[in-house]
């Protein structure tokens, strides 16, 4: 041990340096958030509670009941029951998501060819019974009205509905225009 090292050791230099750093942090502003009082802005596209998209033209769900989301779901928490309606059209009777089983991977959003299911930014929900987490079609449509209504919902699919091609925006608009013309 050299003299230099010995002096450093008996004077507790390395510990004093560490203490200086912690004391410096005492006067810097705090980075912690006082959670229930102070809330963070939700990040756009954050994967939270599910919603079924309400078609603004018909006022009903956009879902056509193809069942791709249920097929893609790795935890198999989506249940769809369909029947034959007027003019032999497929009618979605029940569309149910067991939220407690969901892993929030958003593969259902990716699988849906119509952009009919979405994950909202809402993540703070709780309940006392399992039934409260069994979201029926009506409740899922309500979620859409609550958290994604208006411009936010329209923006959602433009931004987070993937994968997309390079000219996605123009192509999607063309498809939408065709849909409107059909209606």
């Amino acid at each position: 041990m050299t003299v230099n090292e010995f002096v450093k050791k008996i004077l507790f230099i390395e510990i004093l340096k560490g203490l200086a750093l912690t004391f410096k942090h005492m006067v810097t502003p705090a980075i912690t958030r006082q959670y229930p009082a102070e809330r963070r802005e939700p990040v756009p596209g954050s994967r939270g509670l599910h919603a079924l998209v309400r078609n603004p033209l018909t006022g009903k769900e956009k879902c056509v009941g193809c069942g791709l989301c249920a097929a893609m779901c790795p935890s198999q928490c989506i249940h769809i029951y369909t029947s034959e309606g007027d003019d032999h059209k497929k009618v979605v009777d029940r569309y149910e998501i067991e939220v407690l089983r969901c892993v929030f991977c958003a593969l259902c959003v990716e699988a849906c060819p119509y952009g009919a299911v979405a994950l909202t930014e809402h993540f703070e929900y709780s309940g006392y019974t399992r039934e409260e987490f069994y979201y029926t079609k009506e409740r899922l449509l309500e979620n859409w009205d609550k958290y994604m209504a208006g411009a936010k919902g329209e923006e959602y699919f433009e931004k987070f509905w993937r994968p997309k091609s390079v000219d996605f925006a123009t192509a999607a608009q063309a498809v939408q225009a065709k849909e409107r013309a059909g209606q």
Partner: protein, 405 residues
């Protein structure tokens, strides 16, 4: 109890006083990093025998994978090593791309390298935080989580989830990065080396830290190789083996970086290796961001990757591919076996697939670094003090989600 000379001469007393003590550590012990259970046979304070018991977090990921198609397995890999799920996702995708012979675009390679290194930093931050907390340095814990939070926020902005990211896809990525995100990441990398220096100020030369880590849990280079160790735990013993250098994937062969190694193979050297990896990862991210090429992010492989949404709605073939891929998985998967290893923060993560040509793997086997490292615990702990067991568990950086699968 009577305490007289008559009792001390009793042969029964002698037998009792020399008995070894068996101590059960875990599975709910906070310092065992999950649900690791160790049964320690103690003689005084010295560990005579250490037996790890694993399996408390077994979820049967490998079996579950056999019942899901290749696209659905991705969220399962998030839950192996949940501290750095991005690396697991990338390991899974890289393995399957090799099996399917998919050419991945260059931009994707660079973005994957960036996010993999971000997850390495996030993992090492959590490791440093908990390792220091185990040994008794509380302040480092708080500082590390401050930086980890920033990376988690960046992940959330990138893909919508903080921990279970599911960001890469077979043949590409979920989405492209936006310029604002890159700018914020650049700011983070600017600031981060200064933060690493701060952690080092706190513990690098601290005499308590040195006494607790130097000369503890020594494993020689030869032993480390024989026990199958990998990652920083192996490099701490002085073996410069890194999968990123040995079998480059992503953009690792296109950037300049070094493999930090230790010398003595003790807890302190493994700590030093990881601290150096902070700096190397930071520099890799910087270089990748500077070199980030333009271009598509999805490979042109319609039989394996989901088609673009607008094409699904306007094109017959794409619609068919979309339905087949989701309901049955890739139907043209080649038959055969493949093992592909990637370097995750904890070591070498290997995915071994047996494909029988259907959309599902016939068998998926995961070579998890934590599993191998848990097996080395008896080697590291036996003959040392009981307090060193905690330091050893911290230094090999295990996560039981990956170990038990």
């Amino acid at each position: 109890m009577k305490n007289n000379s008559e009792d001390l001469d009793n042969p029964e007393h002698e037998r009792l006083s020399t008995k070894e003590l068996t101590l059960n550590l875990g599975p709910q012990h906070p310092a065992t990093h999950g649900v690791l259970r160790l049964v320690l046979d103690l003689e005084g304070e010295t560990v005579v025998k250490c037996t790890p018991y694993i399996g408390y977090l077994h979820r049967g990921v490998e079996k579950l994978a056999e019942h899901r198609n290749y696209l659905q397995i991705l969220p399962l890999t998030d839950r192996l090593d949940y501290i750095s799920s991005m690396s697991n996702n990338i390991g899974y995708c890289v393995a399957l791309e090799k099996l399917f012979a998919i050419e991945v675009p260059e931009r994707t390679q660079f973005i994957r390298t960036i996010v993999a290194e971000m997850s390495r930093i996030a993992n090492h931050l959590l490791w440093l935080a908990t390792h220091a907390l185990d040994i008794g340095a509380m302040t480092v814990f708080l500082y590390c989580f401050r930086e980890r939070e920033k990376i988690m926020d960046l992940f959330e902005r990138l893909c919508g989830a903080r921990l279970t990211v599911s960001y890469p896809r077979i043949g590409g990525l979920k989405n492209d990065v936006d310029p604002q995100w890159l700018e914020d990441l650049y700011k983070f990398t600017d600031e981060f080396p200064m933060r690493v220096e701060q952690y080092e100020t706190l513990i690098d030369k601290n005499r308590i830290w040195l006494r607790r880590t130097k000369g503890v849990g020594i494993i020689s280079a030869e032993d480390a190789i024989n026990w199958g160790m990998s990652g920083p735990a192996l490099r701490g013993s002085g073996v410069p083996y890194d999968v990123r250098k040995a079998m480059p994937y992503g953009a690792y062969d296109k950037v300049k970086w070094e493999v930090p190694t230790g010398k003595n193979g003790d807890v302190y050297d493994r700590y030093r290796v990881r601290m150096e990896e902070f700096r190397q990862s930071n520099s890799i991210i910087r270089q990748c961001m500077e070199k980030l090429p333009e271009g598509p992010i999805m490979a042109d492989a319609p039989k394996f990757t989901l088609p673009a949404k607008d094409k699904v709605l306007s094109d017959m073939e794409h619609l068919i591919h979309h339905f087949i891929l989701i309901t049955k998985g890739p139907q043209t998967a080649p038959e055969g076996e493949i093992y592909v290893a990637t370097e995750v923060p904890k070591g070498e993560l290997g995915f071994y697939f047996i494909s029988d040509g259907t959309g599902r793997p016939y068998r998926m086997r995961i070579r998890a670094p934590s599993f191998v490292h848990v097996a080395t615990l008896p080697k590291l702990c036996e003959g040392e003090l009981i307090a060193d067991v905690i330091a050893n568990i911290g230094s090999i950086d295990i996560v039981l989600g990956e170990c038990d699968r």
